[in-house]
Symmetry: C2
């Protein structure tokens, strides 16, 4: 069996141009394959896609009920506490909602959360116990 | 500014051993850094973490309300329609809930959706317009 992986994370959004502007302001690059209905953002290996929330619900044949707590968070890991603070401030400046200001956390790291314009949660974290590989991804032990 | 990326996708789950068994049955490998409170699954470059739903809500300082439609989907891209069918069947056998049986979709691909034991949506898709790079990730044009 080939190793499974996350190729794409798709976020359902209410206003695609607004969502795209937000992520571009944070340094994401929209692929030329993007169009007025979907936006493919290139970062690391996994693609971040933005798609209309109603269209996403329809595609998954799910009822588009209000989401409450989605129980999904996306994390970007930093090389230092300062970097966490920088990313957090930049996100607020780009229109994110403050959720949890960066702070020391019980597991020995430093982390903060923001919500993007559609309420999707991002954690910016410095984890002193994790290292990065040469591609900038997390190098977890086997 | 360094390029942003998704380092970790964390799914809030109600029963961590059940969720871990489900993903391991599908070929994900749990890192030795996993413990009784969190599981780090290694696939491609992005890490898939499983964490208690209530603990995740608390970590993000969010109220743990029922989620309705989370408006987040994770996708694994296949090299063929057959592979989509295989993954879909394997997921159901491992305890997933059938959401959308694999089928031809309007954008010219072939895709199905399942929900994991906690309701998180996965799309298995064959997209004839996308190619993979040498690492097995999607190679999106700039």
């Amino acid at each position: 069996m080939t190793t499974p992986r996350i190729h794409i994370v798709t976020l359902g959004v209410d206003d695609l141009p607004r969502a795209r502007r937000f992520y571009e302001a944070l340094g994401w690059h929209a692929s030329s394959t993007s169009n007025e209905n979907i936006c493919f953002l290139k970062g690391g290996a996994a693609v971040l896609a933005l798609y209309g929330r109603a269209a996403l619900a329809e595609d998954a044949q799910c009822e588009d009920r209000p989401s409450g707590f989605a129980a999904v968070t996306l994390a970007r890991n930093a090389a230092s506490k300062d970097e966490v603070d920088t990313w957090y401030s930049a996100a607020l400046q780009a229109g994110a909602r403050a959720i949890k200001p960066p702070q020391e956390v019980f597991w020995g790291g430093y982390s903060g959360y923001i919500a993007d314009p559609d309420g999707h949660l991002w954690e910016f974290a410095f984890n002193p116990f994790l290292v990065f590989d040469e591609h900038g991804n997390l190098a977890l032990p086997d």
